[in-house]
Amino acid sequence: MTFAGGVHPPDYKELTENCQIRTVGAPKQLAIMLSQHIGAICRPSVNKKDKVSAGQVIGQADAFVSAPIHSPISGTVKDICLCSHPVLGRAEAIIIEPDEGNVSKQICAAQFDSNFNPDKFTAEKIFNAVRDGGIVGMGGAGFPTNVKLKANPNSPIHTVIINGCECEPFITCDYRMMLEWTNQILAGTLLAAKALDARNIYIGIEDNKPQAIEAFEKAIAKMAAANDIKVVAVETKYPQGGERQLIKSILDIDVPAGGIPPMVGVLVQNVATAAAIAEAVVLGNPLTYRVVTVSGSGIKNPGNFYVPIGMAVGELIELAGGLTDEAAKIAKVILGGPMMGFAIADLSIPITKTSGAITVLTEKEIGSIRIKSKETACIRCGRCIEVCPMNLNSTKIAHAVKHNLLDIAEEHKMSACVECGCCSYVCPADIEVAGYIKTGKILAARQKKLMPK
């Protein structure tokens, strides 16, 4: 069982899939964004020149859909100012200068073993720990996890799916975590299921990662509390890791367009989020570090790094050996993977809670870098429609947006697009179909005055 559409891009995972997760030394400076997640922007709770300790709350979340932000290290608040943000352009950030002799946080996967029992924790305790730990979805969207874990009597969650697909090319951070932090992820999974009183638990992993599937099967057999968890090998296909696609593949349920998985009684969590939940609930550690894959042919020593949130992309690239000579001349730096990531122009952009990878592409991978768009006319081949996992008429929407006909785009369900980029990937005319649809969504939101200018 699988979803309709999808593509098979070359995955380039061999670059980093055997690189163990490495810890890094103290950073030179951290820029911690006040907007790292979907929902209300945090309010800074520290002032300039304040001393902060590791794990201290520096950004307060006042709204329900929001998550507090913590300092990863002890140090001094240097400034609260505008900083380059991967999505918003320029946004407020807290700049922290680490103290001398700062030791970086260690990976705590070793503290979870197969004796773990979720019954020690009540649903309320789990919810509070997740809220106070500032945990957000770490797969990319960044939706505050506590909102997802709040049991809603009107639509009870019966199934929890842990998303270990990682279908995006180049990225291997989730894969390494699944191999190295298996027990921690299982603990987080059980806690999430416990908070929602969900009976069925699945872990969905693409069938090109047999080692991860094996690791989970072994760990589940050992852990008494986790015996009911089912590991499902799903077809290797992009975008298998999209939550709607994964639900379709595992449960054969369609999430209604415009709806969210809880409407069909399903919760989908990324493996990194599950690991963070376990850490926050059991050890009380807030989310301040995350695993980031630095990969691409433009990087000298690609690898997976356990880095503090707020570290500059440039600094992280230096840790991975820096750019190759070829990439130093001309390269495309992408925050995220090549399919859904954002190209960034400023290497001072910090890592946020949602950035799982930095991909540096050189001419070898992206063909000759285009100086002028070489978009040609649509030849009506319909390939974008064939590959669309949401069964949309992508080309129709893209052309409607191009000619500023937003009502027609909306008629063809523009807002149901998940922005996976399959249509742009297959387009033989080089039309940036997904780009036009994204633009259309912004224009529609602006028309409805949902978005500030």
Partner: protein, 278 residues
């Protein structure tokens, strides 16, 4: 011979002709009765108002077109003066049709692009090769260093129905001779740097910048950005510096020496004139 043919034709086809005639008259009568019985009363002022409007359907008034606006303005006289392209003349004409008194005229509003950065002034971090519209480029971070500056892909040019917007040297420029003040460009700009300003004079002074970055960053990103040095505030109270950005209160502006001095003293030359005959 010809006459004989015509007579033959007449003899053979007159019943058809008469039938058509009877049918025609019959239907005409039906339509005549219907038009009298089912007549929809329409205010004749609507047609007159519509004739007085420019009929370009630009939508600046906020209604679907001139016809829609004519209907609404007849029903609700407070909407008078919403037609920007028509300006004062149209307003007077409509007021005459509707028997309204018009209050003292305020200055007509025209857009000002609050950016002075031309291609050579701007700092670019990278080359953008995506979809060439401002909205698309703005969705991607740091296409150009200044987040508040004109992106120069011309969304405003595409939106202008009067050909009054042009991108000159990487900066959106308004041709005030052609501009009617319809506000389409204000709505099109994703960065919101175009603002409607009451033009009390043919040319207005303005602080052509919207950057609230610190002075140091503004200077690093653009040669002609406002760095918030407050020199202008010493010349006139009309200038207020807030959040590293000077703003001119347009209501207080009048051509005078103090404003000229402020303009000349501005270290980044970001205080400029905008308007006709620069």
């Amino acid at each position: 011979m010809i006459l004989a043919d015509i007579i033959t034709l007449w003899n053979s086809s007159w019943p058809a002709g008469v039938t058509m005639l009877v049918l025609g008259v019959g239907f005409a009568l039906v339509l005549l009765i219907a038009s009298i019985k089912l007549k929809v009363e329409q205010d004749e002022r609507i047609d007159k108002t519509l004739a007085a409007l420019p009929n370009i359907n630009c939508g600046a008034c906020g209604f679907a077109g001139c016809q829609d606006y004519a209907k609404m303005v007849v029903a609700d006289p407070t909407l008078l003066g919403k037609c920007f392209p028509g300006g004062v003349k149209t307003k007077e004409k409509i007021a005459e049709i509707l028997n309204l008194q018009i209050s003292e005229d305020s200055a007509p509003k025209r857009p000002i692009v609050h950016c002075a950065g031309q291609t050579e002034d701007k700092t670019l971090f990278a080359k953008y090769d995506g979809i060439p519209t401002c909205t698309s480029a703005n969705a991607l971070s740091n296409v150009q260093a200044c987040k508040f500056g004109c992106l120069s892909f011309g969304d405003c040019v595409a939106s202008c129905k009067f050909g009054a917007m042009k991108i000159i040297d990487g900066l959106a420029t308004v041709d005030y001779e052609k501009c009617t003040g319809c506000t389409a460009c204000v709505k099109a700009c994703p960065r919101g740097i175009i603002e409607m300003v009451p033009f009390a004079y043919d040319k207005m002074m303005t602080v052509a910048c919207r950057s609230v970055e610190s002075g140091k960053d503004t200077k690093a990103f653009c040669k002609v950005g406002c760095i918030g040095c407050k020199l202008c505030t010493k010349q006139s109270e009309a200038f207020v510096v807030n959040n590293n950005l000077a703003k001119l209160d347009y209501a207080k502006y009048q051509p005078s020496e103090a404003f000229e001095t402020a303009m000349n003293k501005c270290p980044t030359k970001v205080i400029v004139y905008r308007g006709k005959k620069i």
